[in-house]
Symmetry: C2
Subunit: 479 residues, 2 copies
């Protein structure tokens, strides 16, 4: 544990508002929100400015005290949970919650790390603009965390992940020096791109304190459709057809297996299937226009779907007739995880493969997993346009003790799924990052060149190892 | 110089086709194409495969022999010229010139580093697709060099720089290990993004051997227009209006001062002004449609320009009535540098500022430079939508000895212009990189945090300093 004298030095920098060592204040932040990872911390440091972050890191570096940066604490991989041994302090960015500027004309918002995603959504909407990245945790997730994990979501097809939306970054490096890179330059070739390096670095080489974020026009007209298809291959062909007809207007393209839809219909109140026919696969499509133009989004989508019927790609289809119906279509997609959980214990994987290989992966990997682990049910859904598969393996029917099943079979199933992903040229982390959850699997599966590179960069930035220890970078002996 | 025994070891790896120490073969590649930088090299190594690059780097690393990666040798900043002291060998990627695959369906081409840009253009066109990055040196510049300098060009507004078009990378690291990252994943969060780090790294931390590149639909319909405007501010307002009306269809938006146009008209044969009125500033606009739809690109552009006239932003305008006329409009823009050179010796700067500040920068920095250096004429043109200014300072009238003028005043003018760029929150290298030309200015102007970061990354990847020595990273004592 970190001694009182050391803690006092941090308190001296931050003052009473920026420091707490009260166990009741600390407790909620030492476990991840899904309750899978637990740690301890003697204090939470809450700097209110970039300058204070700088002073804190300079001191931490000098004393060799580790810090765990934390935003909304919504990591899916234990990326913001401190270690169990109390060797690190939590460094919360939540007090740095100012939107420093927002310009509709320049389509740019400069936000501090602690700004909550939904707050930015609201501010952009007030200015007639939109920040086009959203996810379930938007009411808690912060800009700093979203950048540090290169967050994705359902709008990536059109607007990219967080990486595509960050035009500039301000960060504090482990030695306390401040990297001032907020100027949003479209062209800038002054060497290694530190901005790109910090995006997705999970707080292991520095702390993002603010960012210049790209805004896009508010949606002027949207159409949401539901299409029944025979195979994932047909779904991909449908996506390609839509892209060629509607270009950049396709914002969402989600693929859902029929049994996933069935689980939603039976477990989630007041849901109904958008189409009559039960096809083996379903696709949820959103088409967005930035301007009210003719033809409307719905007319464009209907035109494209008519062509899809002719080509035999669509078996049944519905275009939402109202905003309420559009929301109802999306609710099915958003309830999938919950409905799947109601089926019993399951292992859930956030993986990606090249888009062209996703249809085959969805069917073949599921079949292979079920064969390898008799009694299990494997299913997948996800963002087809991004190659992002949410792959689930459910415990055999009647399994009552989920944790025992996971303890017994989880490791082998993890390895099986991840091996299949690697064989398909994919990534074992599409959206959530590595954190502590996937570190040893990364070590097992990444090439020596990749692991050596991760370690070299980590050591170059953080030679004393004070930044978010135990996350992302395979430890010595791993890999 | 490197001894014969050492050279023989490289020859043993590469065979006679992959190795030359013939001074006549070597000579053309030891100077940059503009003849500003000169070096010497005992041999050119020309591996034919990734495996050979790996063996060469492993050997070079073991022996401590430096290598200078080279593609088409079209660097604007001396980035591919070997040092004068003969301490490095040239490592040419020109034999690795295969397009390994090209899929129209997946909009993806996998190219080796030595593929020439225009070769890729042709191959994409044959498949009904387009690789949407182009520049003057397209007949020589190679994919590896374009990636290593994060090249730009005139289509960045719509399609981004090279960084936005690289979906995957294969590279050899300085120790000879191969980084296999060609799989094109839309979502991949497995830690620090080595692909992003190699893009724009100017061959100082590894050698890009191949890349997965994004293709886009061929242009189905384009409109090219020329608009006379009063001020750069009006030009920016016009761009914003076009973006809001035409969204992602605006592919080119170039701003040109009237005296620049005048120089083209008087120096370049068979050019004529697209419009009758001589306004202080001109804008060249290209609107592209990926599909033949109604209204046509020309109708869309005309509609938008009608609105611009009403708003008082456009004083005169012409939309090209034929492909030949469209080419003629573009020829003016592409002849600007040549026409400017005919005016006498000049210093040319490739800089960028935030888009919103570009109008003020164009006028104020030019006025300030002329005041600070009496007799000079400063002018600017460039990619307004990208904030990319081509800023020229011409020697006083009657200056016959350009090199003497540059020797006398060049350093002070460089510092003046770069200081103005930094004051505007800009970058001293928008497109061309740092190379050897801007290394000391980068050292002078970058923050200590930025320089420390560059050095730390360089040292982490290339501890023996064998990769493209003297380029990009400020030396000890600089900065």
């Amino acid at each position: 544990m970190i001694d009182t004298e050391t803690l006092q030095k941090f308190r001296d920098i931050l003052g009473p508002k920026g420091f707490t060592d009260d166990p009741d204040d600390i407790a909620p932040w030492t476990s991840d929100w899904r309750g899978r990872y637990h740690g301890t911390a003697a204090a939470i440091l809450s700097p209110a400015s970039t300058q204070e972050v700088s002073q804190v890191l300079a001191l931490a570096n000098r004393l060799g005290v580790a810090v765990v940066p934390q935003g909304g604490n919504t990591s899916m991989v234990g990326g913001a949970t401190p270690p169990m041994d109390g060797s690190a302090l939590i460094l919360s960015l939540r007090r740095m919650n100012q939107i420093r500027s927002l310009s509709a004309k320049d389509n740019l918002a400069v936000c501090e790390a602690g700004v909550i995603l939904s707050t930015l959504h609201d501010a952009a909407a007030d200015a007639g603009r939109r920040f086009p990245l959203s996810l379930g945790a938007k009411g808690s997730a912060t800009i700093g965390g979203l950048i540090s994990t290169n967050a994705g979501g359902t709008q990536v097809l059109r607007h990219g992940t967080m990486r595509a939306l960050v035009d500039g970054i301000e960060a504090v490096l482990p030695d306390g020096s401040i990297y001032e890179g907020l100027d949003a330059l479209k062209k800038d070739n002054r060497g290694y791109d530190l901005k790109q390096l910090l995006i997705g670095a999970e707080g292991t080489i520095g702390i993002v304190t603010a960012a210049s974020l790209r805004l896009v026009p508010a949606i002027a007209d949207r159409a949401v459709g539901w299409v029944g298809v025979e195979t994932p291959e047909d779904a991909l062909a449908l996506l390609r057809m839509l892209e060629s007809r509607l270009g950049g207007m396709v914002e969402g393209f989600e693929i859902i297996a029929d049994d996933g839809l069935g689980h939603v219909l039976s477990h989630i109140p007041s849901t109904r299937s958008p189409i009559e026919t039960r096809t083996p696969w379903h696709v949820l499509i959103e088409v967005d226009l930035d301007e009210q133009t003719e033809p409307s989004a719905a007319e464009r989508l209907e035109g494209a779907l008519a062509e899809a019927f002719e080509a035999g790609l669509a078996k049944d289809a519905a275009v939402a007739a109202s905003e309420a119906q559009a929301e109802a279509f999306w609710k099915i997609r958003e309830s999938l995880s919950e409905a799947e959980r109601a089926q019993g214990p399951a292992l859930q994987y956030d993986v990606s493969v090249p888009v062209a290989r996703m249809p085959a992966f969805m069917t073949q990997a599921a079949a292979a997993a079920q064969q390898a682990f008799p009694g299990t049910t494997a299913s997948s859904f996800g963002h087809l346009g991004d190659g992002n598969v949410h792959f689930h393996v459910r415990a055999p029917k009647g399994t009552s003790d989920g944790p025992a099943w996971i303890a017994a079979d989880g490791g082998r199933i993890n390895a099986f799924v991840h091996d299949a992903v690697v064989a398909a040229g994919g990534s074992i982390s599409a959206e959530h990052g590595i954190g502590q959850m996937k570190r040893t699997e990364l070590a097992r599966l990444a090439s020596p060149a990749r692991i050596a590179t991760l370690r070299a960069i980590k050591a170059a930035f953080d030679p004393r190892g004070i930044m978010n220890p135990g996350k992302l970078v395979p430890l010595d002996g791993e890999g």
